[in-house]
């Protein structure tokens, strides 16, 4: 037997997360339950350690497990976004979810699954990554078992998730069936050498795989679970999965579609473009009428996914770069927004009703200003990070001839202005009520999260060049596969 070269470096962050989770579970055996929440900090440390090794790994592309997984720049960049969102899950989790070892372990595993999904280059690992991502999230969505909405979220997520996993799996089967290969590189090679058993298999496979990932990305019409699950899940989990899942699914979609399945042969490009337009229009329109902040952010997230997918539809290196940038941008602004919601919430999501934000600027100026910044960033107002993000995507769209895509983005953004800016207006309107619905203080970790996200939103907004250069390398890396 020829054992493959495992190359632990290629999965170093994953190993760190896994080790941390094991340690957490182990410690939990000896820790009194009331101190269980301290494990949260352990999780934090684990994630920080994983983040810390990313720059080390940046130097060189590491291939592991006989080519099943690569730690290239693309993967590392996506990992960063995922880890940041995992960080948020820990930082924000202290108050709402009463975390213990189980919470810590589940979050870490979900993050692990996400990271595998973005770095796996072979169908089996991709599938496993998707499942490792999904299963903990089903549980996490229902983590507040005392809340009907949380349980309902778990149920909906589970059933829809398993259903779409089935579809995804069937798609993988067809990709496998078309070429007899499971590694993306060899699939691509087979396609390019016209060595496919039947071209339609590729199309079916690409379609079903896209549907499965579109489900995770919350593209219309596969998005319907998103508002319910985001609303019902505990806020830290929502923050985590809204960003992490999208980053992971984006990574996988990029690897499978733009890298493995050349758009000239497998005709997914118009499809993805259509889905993108549908998604961003639908998401923005549906967000208009929301009264619950989390639900509004869920629809906003759908719309944002639409923008993100435009980057894929551009089917170019620039598009991939734009998508990566946007994922990072989205991580900062979206987590930031959820962080403010969490900071305003105690046990019971007091911060979810938009109406209760009235006059916030005069009661909690720091949070109100931060929220304003995040919402403006989501509305892609310069000089906040959402703007260069969207600029990059527009650039990619226009340069691949997709002026209509660009116009669609613009129309979607126009619609979005209303719902992003109405809360801002509300926060800056003097309120007659003296009674604040929010708890008087927030946990310090929430403030830290808000601060970090604010810094990211501003710094990357003003100096997008910090990211664009490295991302350019990342794009080359993925195409150099």
């Amino acid at each position: 037997m020829n054992f493959p070269v495992i190359n632990p470096l290629s999965v170093l962050p994953e190993i760190i997360l896994l080790a941390t989770s094991i340690v957490a579970l182990f410690i939990a055996l000896f820790l009194p339950d009331r101190r269980g929440h301290q494990l949260n900090y352990l999780g934090l440390v684990g994630v920080l350690a994983a983040i810390a090794v990313l720059p080390m790994l940046w130097a060189k592309v590491e291939v592991g497990f006989g080519g099943a997984i690569v730690s290239d720049h693309f993967a590392l960049a996506m990992d960063a976004a995922i880890l940041v969102s995992a960080l948020a899950a820990f930082l924000l989790g202290l108050r709402e979810v009463e975390p213990g070892a189980d919470y810590v372990a589940l979050v870490l595993w979900a993050a692990l699954g996400m990271m595998v999904l973005t770095s796996a280059v072979e169908l089996l690992s991709i599938f496993l990554g998707l499942e490792v991502l999904s299963l903990p999230l089903y549980v996490l969505a229902g983590f507040r078992r005392d809340r009907t909405t949380s349980k309902e979220a778990a149920m909906k997520y589970l059933l829809m998730g398993a259903f779409s996993s089935g579809i995804f799996l069937y798609g993988l089967a067809f990709l496998y069936g078309a070429t007899g290969k499971v590694s993306l590189a060899s699939i691509q090679a087979a396609i390019l050498q016209n060595f496919t058993s039947h071209p339609l298999f590729l199309e079916i496979g690409a379609g079903l795989v896209a549907v499965g990932l579109a489900f995770k990305l919350a593209l219309v019409p596969f998005h319907q679970w998103v508002p319910d699950v985001y609303e019902g899940s505990p806020t830290p989990v929502t923050a985590f999965m809204s960003v992490g899942t999208k980053a992971a699914a984006f990574g996988a979609l990029v690897r499978i579609l733009t890298v493995a399945l050349p758009a000239g042969i497998v005709h997914w490009q118009p499809l993805i473009a259509f889905l993108a337009v549908l998604t961003l229009l639908f998401g923005n329109l549906a967000a208009l009428r929301q009264t619950n902040m989390k639900r509004m952010l869920a629809y906003s997230g759908i719309a944002q996914a639409g923008y993100l997918v435009v980057a894929i539809a551009a089917n170019s290196q620039m598009g991939v770069g734009a998508g990566m940038f946007y994922v990072v941008a989205y991580a900062f602004m979206n987590i930031g927004a959820f962080a403010v919601v969490a900071a305003l919430s105690g046990q019971n999501e007091e911060g979810a009703e938009i109406a209760s934000y009235r006059g916030l600027a005069y009661r909690r100026p720091w949070l109100a200003v931060s929220m304003t910044v995040f919402l403006l960033a989501l509305a892609s107002i310069p000089p906040l990070v959402g703007f260069p993000g969207k600029f990059y995507i527009l650039r990619a769209a226009v340069s691949s001839g997709g002026v209509l895509l660009a116009i669609a983005i613009v129309v979607g953004t126009m619609i979005s202005l209303y719902y992003y800016l109405r809360p801002v207006l509300l926060m800056f309107t003097h309120s007659e009520e003296t009674e604040s619905p929010f708890p008087a203080t927030a946990h310090w970790t929430a403030h830290v999260t808000v601060g970090v996200m604010l810094a990211g939103t501003l710094v990357l907004g003003i100096l997008p060049g910090l990211l664009t250069g490295p991302l350019q390398n990342a794009v080359h890396a993925i195409y150099g596969l």
């Binding site: 037997m1 009331r34 006989g66 595993w109 072979e122 299963l135 039947h198 079916i204």
Partner: protein, 175 residues
């Protein structure tokens, strides 16, 4: 020749089992139909030289998993009750559309499959070499596909911890 007969028999059973899952009123009946379906699939796996997987399918799936299902069906008193009738037509055209698009899906995929001419040339017998053997399977699993195999460990861990968490009496263990 035998294999042809076995295929048609197993296929028929599998379809019947699937139909049972789809149509049976009581969940227990559905579960039993699914067992039937899985058993038939096991037979088909055998025909395709996947002896090990056939065993796994029947042992793990038809055995362990379905027992778990039945266990839960009986655990949930509510599960034995059928859903209220008044809600049946709440999504009236759901049935119509689901059936229609299920059919379209099948037709689309089948259309692609029928068009694939290479399919006819398969010899059901000896594919040669060690294909389908446990040894070959094990080799593949532990060499080329080591990473996914390792990941299943995480999946199982998730299952364990998740179920422990969910099964715990709420609020009993903390504070």
């Amino acid at each position: 020749m035998v294999s042809t007969v076995v295929f048609w028999l197993a296929a028929a059973v599998a379809i019947v089992g699937a139909g049972g899952v789809l149509l049976a009123k009581h969940p227990v009946h559905s579960a039993l139909s699914l067992v039937l379906n899985l058993a038939a699939l096991g037979v088909l796996f055998l025909l395709l030289h996947a002896e090990f997987l056939a065993v796994v399918e029947i042992l793990v799936y038809a055995g362990a998993v379905m027992v778990l299902f039945l266990f839960v069906v009986t655990l949930l008193m509510a599960g034995t009750k059928t859903p209220r009738d008044e809600g049946r037509f709440r999504l009236a055209y759901q049935y119509l559309l689901a059936g229609l698009f299920g059919l379209i899906l099948f037709v689309l995929v089948a259309h692609a499959l029928v068009g694939a001419d290479w399919m006819s040339s398969l010899a059901a017998t000896n594919a040669g070499g060690s294909f389908g053997s446990i040894a070959a399977f094990g080799t593949a699993l532990f060499t080329k596909y080591l990473l996914p195999f390792e990941l299943t460990a995480v999946v199982l861990l998730v299952a364990v911890i998740g179920v422990i968490f969910l099964g715990r009496e709420h609020g009993a263990t903390r504070k």
